[in-house]
Subunit: 220 residues, 2 copies
Amino acid sequence: MNERKRKNTSTRRAMLANEIAQAIRLRAFRPGEWLRQIDLEERFEATRFDVRSALDELAVRKTIEHVPNRGYRVAEVDLKTYEEILATRIILERATAEGVVARIDDAAIARLDALAAQFSAAVTTGSRTEQSEINRAFHQFMYSFCGNAVLEEMIWGLRDRGRGSQITVWSSHELLQKSDREHFEMMAALKARDAERLAALIATHIIKGGVVGPVPVEPG
Amino acid sequence: MNERKRKNTSTRRAMLANEIAQAIRLRAFRPGEWLRQIDLEERFEATRFDVRSALDELAVRKTIEHVPNRGYRVAEVDLKTYEEILATRIILERATAEGVVARIDDAAIARLDALAAQFSAAVTTGSRTEQSEINRAFHQFMYSFCGNAVLEEMIWGLRDRGRGSQITVWSSHELLQKSDREHFEMMAALKARDAERLAALIATHIIKGGVVGPVPVEPG
DNA sequence: TGCGACAAAATTGGCGCCAATAATTTCGCC
DNA sequence: GGCGAAATTATTGGCGCCAATTTTGTCGCA
C-alpha cells in the first residue's frame, strides 16, 4: 500500500558514506587526495549537508582524515600504522578459522570454490579493481560463517583503513598468483575441517599479500 | 606570544563526544535511556550543533544508537552481541600479552603494582564507578605496552560498546574479589615474563568478570 | 470509566546563509 | 625580472531557523 517515503537522513548519510568508501577502495580517490565537498555534491548528487555528514562518519571510521579549515582527505597510513593494522588483521582473521570450519556447509563451500575460480580467472584477464573486489567477496563470504558479527565488523573496518597505505598490494604478478594458490589451499583446509591449517594460511595470506620485502611484523 | 585561539569544531566535537562517552561509562546515562539534545546542551554547556556532532560520532562508534525522528539513546546490547563482544575482546586482549611482556619495564611494573593495590583498596571501600575506573586504568596502562596502537584502539572501542549490556559486571562481591586476585596473578606472570600465562589470565579475567551464569535479561 | 480522535506542545533534523580561513592571483617595489 | 605583500577568489564550517515528526494532553462519546 504505502509507497516507500523518501529515505531519512541517517540512511542517506550511511549510504553516501559507503559509496565514498567504495570509491576510495577502488582508488577513484588516492591516499592523500583532498575530497572537495563541492565535487562530491555533484559526483554523488547529494546536498552539501549529506556530504559533510558522510565525511564526518568516514573520519570517525578513520577511512579519511579531517584537517580543520582544510577539509577531508584520504588517510595516508604511515608504515608503522600499516604494520599494526596487518598485525591486528592477522589476529582477528585467524580467529575466524575455528568458527568458519565449524559452521560452513557444502553449499557455501561450493560458492567459495566458485569465487576462488573467479579470482583465478581475474588474475590473468581482470583489472586490478576486479581482482580486488572478487578477493574481497571471497573473504567476506568465508568470514560470514565465523558466527561473530562483531568480529566481522572489526575485520572490514581494518581492511578499509589499510587501503590508505602507500604499499602496493599485489605489487607483482607472482604475489597475485600466490594469493590465488592460497585461496585453493584454504579451500582444501576448509574441506578437511582443519581450522588450525586454515588459520595459518590466513596469516601468511595477509602477510604475503600486503607487505613487500623484509617483514618486520611481530604480532603483538 | 599568541594566546591560544578558541578550539576548532572537530576538537570540541571530539572532546564533547568523549565527555558523553565517559558519562555513559559512569552510568550517568543508562542503557536504553534517551539523550535529549536540549539537556545535553545545558549539561555540557555546548551548542546544539556540537551536541549533534558528538552524538553522531558516538553513533558511528556504536556507543549510542540513532533512531530517526526519535533521537539518540544509549545502545542496548543484546545477549548475543554481548557474547560476541566478549569473545572478540578475548581475542584482542590476549594478543597484547606477548608485546606487553616483551616491552614492559620495571617502572611500569611498579606503577601497575600500585594500580592493583589501589583496586584492592577500592574493592572494599570504593564506589562502583571508582572500582571501574581504577580497573580501566590498570588494563589501559598495561595494554599501552603492547606496541600496537591500532590494537589498543580496537580494545577500548569494544570495551565501551560492552557497557550497553544489561549484564551487571561484578554482580557479586566474590567476583570483584576474584578480579582483584587475578590482577595480582597477572602481575606475577608479567614479572616472570610469562606471556602465555598472562594471555590465559586475561581470557579468564574477561569471561569471569563479564558473564554470570544463566542471565536474567529482560528485553527493554 | 475506557477509548479513540483531535489538538497542542515538545523535540528532532534538513538546510541555507555567511563568517572565518586558506589558496591563488595580482600588483608594486626593489 | 624576481620577490614579497596585499587583494581576490575559493572553500570550509558554525549556527540558527523553521518544517517535519513524535509525544503529550484534552475532549467527546459510548
